[in-house]
């Protein structure tokens, strides 16, 4: 009897020293995971789960309830497991640790054989806690308890397409609730990790903790102060194209910054200006956009989609969405209807500009996009015709000084009476004549048109002088 007690004492003291040794080792390796309850000889081990790579996780309702569709997400971490363990006096020589409870944060872990998987890991006489922690930390236990399924890539699992072969499948009655919790946890773990990791900013060449840095969408990390300086300068100078990741590769590929990135770096006013610059740039790229002619408005007005393909006068109509001003896109004046031509011959300016451009040049195409090709060719034809008309009018007619109508004299004397407004005028110089005595303009010596009641083109009707003859009669 005595020897048996001695033997037990021996085992107990050996176990105690083994347990102390094990605890010290664990504490030095995982200082944050483990805490010891001395009086009750119980241990609390809280193990966060860090998967090797981000893995696909699907959360399914086993009851196949259509109200709770399965959720699929990609995670690199899972919420920690809390093990509450009692170490028997004869652990590890004779018995495994006694698992009092296993609790998963957010209760995400299905109640499946983790406990027995852990016990199986213990072999007689060997301390096992390190192996347990590693089994949980790396997520390898998920294999043992059949939460990880090896599925052929591309297969469908509860209507979700599987793209990686290691698939974690968690049964849960409320998939969408758990999905949100797991996602949040994963995000905050990443965030925490980022904040504590030191990064070297390749702009100011200094090292900062992640808390002072920003990781851009492309994955490059810079210190916030440098990004603020860089983007702030670009935004101030209106160089919106350069607001992007400063990494040379990203610069060469012309990667622009995403709005989320810009929003968390620059000031509110710079963000507003950045948005405005981008909008302006996008609109300026579109040749169809015309700025509202109201001076205090200037809002860009795009071509209405209905105008596409339409070549009638209605295509000239634009209505500003901000101030509701309706105007003609050609002359930028108040809308004058689809038929009336522009009150001021504004078209002439841009038709000339258009004709000066080489056919097929990008500028010419821009014009054609803005005003319509058919419309332009019609305008060009009209312009050319107008030019010929004008030439002819200048050469062969005189405008009535009363109503500006052009009058062509086919024959007769230079005293004209306008058929439209009855104004009397001199066809030679356009002066208004007194209707009671229109001929004094031609008969008083010293007047501009003295003796010029009749004049003929050089060589025309030579020798035929009916006037003189008429006078003689």
């Amino acid at each position: 009897m005595v020897t048996q007690y001695d033997h037990l004492d021996e085992i107990r003291s050996e176990c105690q020293s083994l347990q102390e040794e094990e605890y010290q080792v664990l504490e030095s390796i995982f200082p944050d995971f483990i805490s010891y309850d001395e009086p009750g000889r119980t241990l609390r081990i809280e193990v966060p789960i860090e998967l090797d790579n981000a893995q696909e996780v699907s959360i399914v309702n086993e009851a196949d309830d259509s109200d709770h569709p399965p959720q699929c997400l990609t995670l690199a971490t899972l919420p920690p497991l809390l093990l509450h363990i009692a170490l028997p006096v004869n652990y590890p020589l004779e018995v495994p640790p006694n698992i009092l409870s296993i609790h998963a944060t957010h209760s995400w872990l299905p109640r499946l054989g983790l406990r027995s998987a852990l016990i199986r890991l213990w072999s007689l006489g060997q301390p096992v806690l390190y192996d347990w922690i590693e089994l949980i930390r790396t997520g390898a236990f998920l294999n043992d308890i059949k939460v990880i399924e090896l599925i052929r890539t591309g297969a469908f699992l509860n209507d979700i397409k599987v793209t990686s072969s290691n698939h974690i499948r968690i049964p849960h009655p409320m998939p969408h609730l758990l999905a949100a919790l797991l996602k949040n946890h994963d995000h905050s773990m990443k965030q925490e990790n980022f904040l504590l990791t030191p990064y070297s900013c390749s702009i100011c060449l200094a090292q900062y903790k992640g808390a002072k840095c920003a990781k851009l969408m492309c994955g490059h990390v810079f210190c916030r102060s440098c990004l603020l300086d860089f983007w702030g300068l670009c935004i101030t100078e209106g160089d919106v194209d350069r607001v992007g990741c400063p990494d040379p590769e990203c610069v060469k590929e012309g990667h622009k910054a995403m709005e989320e990135d810009v929003a968390r770096i620059v000031s509110e006013s710079d963000l507003v200006r950045w948005r405005w610059l981008r909008e302006k740039q996008a609109l300026e790229r579109d040749p169809n956009v015309i700025h509202c002619p109201v001076e205090c408005c200037q809002t860009p007005v795009p071509k209405p989609p209905t105008a596409e393909g339409d070549e009638s006068g209605w295509t000239r109509l634009r209505t500003c969405q901000k101030c509701s001003f309706s105007f003609c896109s050609f002359c930028k004046r108040t809308w004058h209807g689809p038929i009336t031509t522009c009150p001021i011959s504004i078209t002439e300016t841009f038709v000339l500009e258009y004709m000066a451009l080489l056919p097929g040049s990008p500028e010419r195409e821009k014009f054609e996009k803005r005003y319509g090709k058919v419309m332009l060719s019609r305008l060009v034809a009209k312009y050319e015709e107008d030019q010929l008309n004008k030439k002819w009018l200048d050469a062969s007619t005189m405008a009535c000084p009363g109503c500006s109508v052009n009058v062509e004299k086919s024959l007769g004397c230079n005293h004209m009476t306008c058929a439209k407004c009855k104004q009397h005028f001199c066809y030679r110089c356009g002066t208004k004549l007194n209707p009671s005595n229109p001929y004094s303009h031609f008969s008083i010596s010293g007047q501009r048109c003295f003796n010029k009641l009749f004049d003929f083109m050089q060589g025309e009707d030579d020798g035929w002088q009916p006037i003189e003859g008429f006078e003689f009669l």
């Binding site: 100011c204 060449l205 860089f230 300068l233 670009c234 040379p248 990203c250 610069v251």
Partner: protein, 222 residues
């Protein structure tokens, strides 16, 4: 101390400590924003053996705006102006990134010497020479490296250098002595002949495209 000064100081210190890259950055005067960089010509190129100096001006908003660099040493290269040393390199313009440093930019210049881009030339005449006859271009580039960058064979005595001034200029322009002599023989001044032949790219296969009449016509222009 502002961020620009802090960064430039770091860059200069970093370059001093780096013995492997062979890139050197020195102050020209008191200002840390006007510097002189230098690097050896890359091996296996006509610039091998030369030491190339670069004028560096650091702008107000560095590193967010590109550093201004031009060659102090004369370089015969399609992307470097043979007259001013101005450099045509994308990272000195729109492909600049604030991550690039003086050292990395100088290394880029060094590799520009290895890989000329005649389709995007800074010096059109040199680029034409390069595309007409690469071997003739390389001879001239080697010659310039000797004369200006202290390349191999540059250590000539003063008298022999001055005695061969005329020959130097023909080689420097990348022209054939026989061609120059032929037009000088017609009674034209050598300087003018060199100038015209260089402008016309009178080299390699290209000489068949240029009739003598054309050359004479150019020579007769005041």
């Amino acid at each position: 101390m502002d961020a620009r000064l802090r960064r430039v100081n770091k860059e200069i210190a970093d370059c001093k400590n780096d013995k492997t890259s062979n890139i050197r950055i020195e102050l020209i005067d008191e200002s840390p924003f006007h510097l002189k960089g230098s690097f050896p010509g890359p091996q296996g190129t006509p610039y091998e053996g030369g030491n190339f100096e670069v004028d560096i001006v650091i702008p107000e908003s560095y590193p967010f705006q590109p550093v201004k660099m031009k060659f102090i040493t004369k370089v015969y290269h399609p992307n470097v102006s043979s007259a001013s040393g101005a450099i045509c390199l994308d990272i000195l313009k729109d492909a600049w990134s604030p991550v690039l440093t003086l050292k990395s930019t100088l290394i880029s210049l060094q590799s520009l010497l290895c890989s000329p881009e005649p389709n995007d030339p800074q010096d059109a005449e040199v680029a034409k020479h390069y595309t007409t006859s690469k071997s003739s271009f390389e001879e001239t580039a080697v010659y310039w490296t000797q004369i200006y960058a202290g390349g191999p064979g540059a250590k000539k005595s003063k008298e022999s250098a001055s005695a061969s001034v005329a020959r130097d200029e023909v080689a420097m322009a990348g022209l054939d002595h026989a061609h120059v002599r032929r037009f000088v023989g017609l009674g034209f001044e050598q300087g003018k002949v060199i100038d015209v032949l260089r402008r016309l790219n009178y080299r390699g296969k290209n000489i068949h495209n240029i009739p003598d009449d054309k050359v004479v016509e150019e020579l007769l222009k005041p």
